[in-house]
Symmetry: C2
Subunit: 243 residues, 2 copies
DNA sequence: AACACAGTTCTATCTAACAGAACTTTTGCG
DNA sequence: CGCAAAAGTTCTGTTAGATAGAACTGTGTT
């Protein structure tokens, strides 16, 4: 008997219990894991090894897991393929990526585009700064919505945002999610969906001084406004002039 | 009643049938799909709508699918997170990405790193050419192993490769997978795993003339050799000198 | 050689999952 | 606006599938 068990069940919340279990196997892999043994998966998921062995046959067949000769399990390539499908299904990359590259070039800091998904924000696109010291977020990472400049943007502009909201842009954070990271963010709108995401510059606190933020702010506002217009949305006129 | 049914079953091949079904729902999304209706998913998977409704509760809970207010289903952000975990679990990016960038800069063509997974090759890392005309492959894409320069490398060097194999590098293809795409590829070895992948330059046939390939060949060979050494593997001495 | 641990196989039991009918809601057309 | 078609949702009897967990096999260490 292993000690921890998945806490949600199909019986109590709908769904199919064996699917929940299978996905909990995939979900128990963490950053830094190269491979996991059967015993380690059992410890992390609370499932019996015999149950895991049966579930993993389906996961392997679908390409979500790969089993190697040393009996260890690794995440499979189908996840990367589907992750790319997800990213491209947003139909934003062709518009967002060039803007992120330009923002990164002009500001020297990492530029990201976050989307809201439920109670989280997802880093959908990212261009890392070329500087050696920078914050580390990866495309696909899921971060809390209630912390960080991008989180505040995604919360505050969920409605269209008032003139006062726009006047406050870019929204800033200092060490909210990670103690040594600063960030500045602005909203991005589209015609179809309203608020589609937050454009963000981030980096170490030491490079988020008043002077540096004053340099970044007009870059971000201009980029957010331009990207919104590309997507059929727009900022109120005053918002882009108050920078 | 819908007409098509998943062809493999847990009963005949092991695994858990409802997990197979759930993953066939995720797997029915294709490039270009923004969202799918319940009816469309039923048509693509051959599952009853009532079955899909139950399975998708588990998929939504895990973040693999998102259901929107218009009742449509979209792929969910957890796929991108897991796809990034997979990519980083290879523990290659820090070594491979800089080499791809340099190869792309020096050659002007798209540079990719392919890995073998079963009977397929996966594009694990990619740096697109900045030229307007280029081939389109995305990180995560799964391509056939028996076609393309990278496929030939992954097949031919699965054993260590003979001196004759190395002398033939880089392996070339002209319009094997896509009729207008050319590619050149070399193997990459590591100490731990032997052949870990194929380093590839690719682009339109019109830019894969004899002269252009003569320019790319030494760049690729040097990059493949250097990357192998970084990973604790190596090319035989003659291989890198015959370029 | 003995022991501990990891991985694998087997099966009795029970309930979870399904098929598909019936129902409700939404959409599109005349 | 009314109607029909299509899409989405709920319900439930039946049974086959999935599990728990014991027993067994294989591997690594002392």
């Amino acid at each position: 008997m292993t000690d921890a068990k998945p806490t949600t069940t199909a019986a109590s919340a709908g769904g199919v219990e064996s699917v929940d279990r299978a996905l909990s196997i995939v979900g128990c892999f963490q950053a830094g894991d190269h491979a996991l043994s059967l015993t380690e998966i059992a410890a992390r998921t609370g499932l019996y090894k015999s149950t895991i062995l049966r579930l993993t046959v389906s996961l392997e067949r679908a390409g979500y897991l790969v089993r190697h000769q040393d009996k260890s399990y690794r995440l499979g390539p189908e996840l990367m393929r589907l992750g790319g499908l997800y990213q491209r299904s947003l139909r934003l990359e062709d518009h967002v990526r060039p803007v992120l590259r330009q923002l990164m070039r002009e500001s020297g800091e990492s530029a990201s585009f976050f989307r809201r998904e439920g109670a989280w924000r997802i880093c959908a696109f990212r261009e890392d700064s070329t500087q050696a010291i920078r914050d580390h977020v990866h495309e696909g990472d899921r971060l809390p919505l209630d912390r960080g400049a991008a989180g505040h943007v995604l919360t505050r502009f969920a409605g269209q945002g008032s003139a006062a909201d726009f006047a406050a842009l870019p929204l800033l954070s200092f060490g909210e999610r990670e103690s040594e990271t600063g960030a500045a963010a602005v909203p991005v709108f589209s015609q179809r969906d309203g608020l589609v995401g937050a454009l963000t510059l981030s980096g170490p606190l030491t490079r988020f001084t008043g002077e540096r933020v004053a340099v970044m702010a007009p870059l971000l506002l201009a980029a957010g406004s331009r990207l919104s217009e590309t997507l059929g949305g727009h900022y109120p006129d005053q918002a882009s002039q108050s920078a």
